[in-house]
């Protein structure tokens, strides 16, 4: 088929009708691989997951679709705290990536000169090693005899670390003197792992921002802070929205950080689903939790995108 399309111009000119039909087919033809992929690897599994969540039974005797809606209420009442914790951890990590990522993206886009490409490579450099290894590395950083402790001892700044710990304890982010295996460690891991997903869309957006607009704002009596608030921030919203979504959605479902850097007090919903599927073998509960998580993320995202009002932007 593709060959026929390619060879068409060389034959005598086909009638207008034939050409019209052929042209109408091309978009569908181009869409087909993607659509088939989505159908096989997204639509079918989603439906099977939906059906699974309403089945009863066990692994040995098999599952039967019984429209058992109670699985949902049971799952929610047992695991609501892990669901909520996932949203909170992902939310905090997203805010932190935005806080760290925005100045970094601005710097790379407008202040780095000839170092621009090098810095961009540095941003994506962590992807050259596996997610697992990168997260494990945080154990050696935050551990009781880890890099952070060594560094503060070497530079005689242990008091800084102690002060930091006191703040974290006050915020309830660490329980005792240990940095590792705490909410702080999990959120740090999430923030670190998802930072590139924030920086790259922000960079793409800020790089296109016309700096002459900031000159115009300054010319019209806007202080640097006002220029940021009235011109740069609103114009960068599409990048902010893209970055936060790319960070928040996968971070909510992430469980590696919680497994490697957290404790039983920091269990996230991904861990629960993983356990239900692979260890407890309670497939309906696992499927129901997956659906609840999906619904939660979609509703958070819809409200967020509406509030950000990016559809009004050019």
């Amino acid at each position: 088929m593709a060959e026929a399309v390619l060879r068409a111009p060389r034959r005598e000119t086909p009638s207008a009708a034939v050409r019209h039909v052929r042209r109408n087919w091309v978009p569908y033809l181009l869409l087909a691989p993607g659509l088939i992929w989505l159908l096989i690897f997204f639509a079918v599994p989603t439906l099977s997951l939906a059906s699974q969540s309403l089945q009863t039974g066990d692994v040995d005797n098999g599952f039967v679709l019984t429209w058992h809606w109670q699985t949902y209420t049971d799952a929610l009442s047992s695991y609501w705290s892990q669901l909520l914790r996932s949203l909170v951890y992902a939310g905090v990590a997203t805010l932190l990536t935005l806080l760290f990522g925005y100045p970094l993206a601005w710097f790379i886009a407008h202040r780095s000169g000839r170092w621009k490409n090098f810095l961009l490579v540095l941003v994506i450099a962590p992807f050259f090693t596996s997610f697992l290894i990168r997260t494990l590395a945080w154990q050696t950083i935050l551990g009781d005899s880890g890099l952070l402790v060594d560094l503060t001892q070497l530079t005689h700044t242990t008091f800084l670390l102690d002060g930091f710990k006191a703040v974290l304890r006050a915020l309830g982010l660490i329980a005792n003197d240990q940095l590792l295996f705490s909410p702080f460690a999990v959120i740090s891991g999430l923030t670190y792992n998802f930072l590139p997903f924030m920086v790259l869309p922000l960079y793409a957006n800020l790089e296109r921002l016309d700096l002459r607009l900031t000159e115009a704002a300054a010319d019209l009596y806007a202080s640097p802070l006002e220029t940021f608030r009235r011109v740069i921030w609103p114009l960068s919203l599409p990048g902010v929205v893209a970055g936060t979504l790319l960070t928040f959605i996968p971070a909510t479902g992430d469980y590696i950080n919680s497994v490697l850097l957290g404790s039983t007090q920091t269990t996230m919903i991904g861990q629960v689903i993983d356990g239900q599927f692979l260890r407890v073998l309670d497939y309906p509960t696992a499927a129901a939790l997956s659906f609840v998580l999906m619904a939660l993320i979609i509703s958070v995202v819809v409200v967020y995108v509406r509030r950000a009002g990016t559809e009004e932007l050019v």
Binding site: E215, A216, L220, Y221, A222, R230, V231, L235
Partner: protein, 370 residues
């Protein structure tokens, strides 16, 4: 606020260097309050850099900038009561026309911003489109929004950086007249940067012609045109025929006997440097007449080109020594010459200007085409 700091704009000994390149070289300008002033020059002459230093977007390497008695050299752009109409307009794409125009007033906390914004939009005849985004407007409309956005703040000095450059010719003419009207209506000091000599002459009360970071000549349009003091100004503002002239005697009744390539002429003694034996005599193309009716100075030559431009016909006439003179004749019904005709050119002794013989006759010509 608009009147408290107002006064003449003074640029005193300002120099701006970028690494090894000197963009603006020790210029001094006094721009009277309420005047329409043009900085004219080819691209790269330093006019835009001068403007940006007045706006505060670039800092001078040396020198100072004052409005009235107030030194604003070190003030940040948002602290200066100076506004700019940018070449690119730089309208905020996320704000509608009303919010764009109101931007400056609201940053300064002006309680009356709504009324003033609407007045400014009426002034540029855009009251009906206040709810639109810049991207929905034509180039001419965007230009007027940019103008309103600057005007509405009633700055001490309003800077215009080639604001009409992106418009087509007809719209540009229209906007030139409109800008001039608005300026005389609001009475603000306008400093207009342009490379278009016609635009500068149409609008400005006085013009500073800049070249290579320096002010070549400063004056009103007529003076610059009739009595340029350098070949650069003579060639940059309109066309000039420059003839090498030997001075043969002393002044008599304001006229001096002279000769060019063996032809006797008489020239006005008014601007002649004392003791000069050789000078350039400049004669504008429209001051030369085909035939003998123009005055006692006469040259013979052959027409090599004739182009009809509507109100006038422009001829190239080759002199016996090879130089081609440009002659512009109004199409007023008088006789026309054809290519190949031998003609006499004549002009009156007082209709020329004198340049020192040391000037390069072609200075400023190569940029005129752009």
């Amino acid at each position: 606020m608009a009147t408290s700091g107002a006064g003449d704009l003074r640029i005193a000994g300002v120099t701006k260097t970028f690494e090894s390149f000197t963009a603006v070289d020790d210029i001094d300008l006094d721009i009277p309050r309420g005047s329409f002033f043009a900085l004219l020059g080819p691209s790269g002459c330093g006019k835009t850099t001068t403007l940006r230093m007045v706006a505060g977007l670039d800092a001078p390497t040396r020198g100072s900038i004052l409005i009235g008695d107030r030194d604003i050299t070190t003030l940040k752009p948002h602290q200066r009561n100076v506004n700019t109409v940018f070449q690119s307009y730089a309208l905020f794409p996320h704000l509608d026309v009303l919010d764009n125009v109101a931007f400056g007033l609201r940053r300064r906390g002006d309680k009356d911003w709504k009324t003033k914004t609407h007045e400014a939009l009426e002034l540029v005849q855009l009251g009906h489109i206040s709810g639109k985004k810049p991207a929905q407007l034509s180039g001419g409309m965007q230009q007027r929004v940019a103008l309103a956005r600057a005007l509405v703040n009633r700055p001490d000095v309003l800077l215009l950086d080639e604001p009409l450059g992106a418009l087509d010719l007809k719209l540009r003419r229209q906007m030139q007249i409109e800008l001039k009207r608005i300026q005389s209506e609001v009475g603000l000091t306008f400093v207009h940067v342009t490379h278009d000599q016609e635009e500068a002459m149409t609008m400005a009360d006085s013009i500073a012609v800049m070249n290579a970071g320096k002010v070549e000549q400063l004056g009103d349009c007529a003076t610059l045109y009739e009595h340029p003091t350098s070949a650069f100004v003579a060639n940059f503002l309109g066309q000039s025929n420059l003839l090498k002239v030997a001075i043969l005697g002393s002044a008599d009744d304001g006229l001096v006997p002279a000769a060019t390539h063996g032809t006797a002429l008489s020239i006005s003694a008014e601007h002649l440097p004392p003791g000069a034996t050789e000078v350039w005599l400049g004669v504008r193309p429209e001051k030369l007449h085909l035939g003998v009716g123009g005055g006692p100075n006469r040259l013979e030559g052959m027409v090599t080109d004739a182009s009809f431009t509507g109100v006038a016909t422009q001829y190239l006439v080759r002199m016996p020594w090879g130089q081609e003179l440009t002659v512009t004749q109004p199409n007023d019904g008088s006789g026309r010459a054809r290519v190949g005709d031998n003609v006499t050119l004549s002009w009156s002794p007082r209709q020329g200007f004198i340049l020192p013989a040391s000037e390069a006759a072609d200075a400023g010509t190569e940029v005129e085409g752009g």
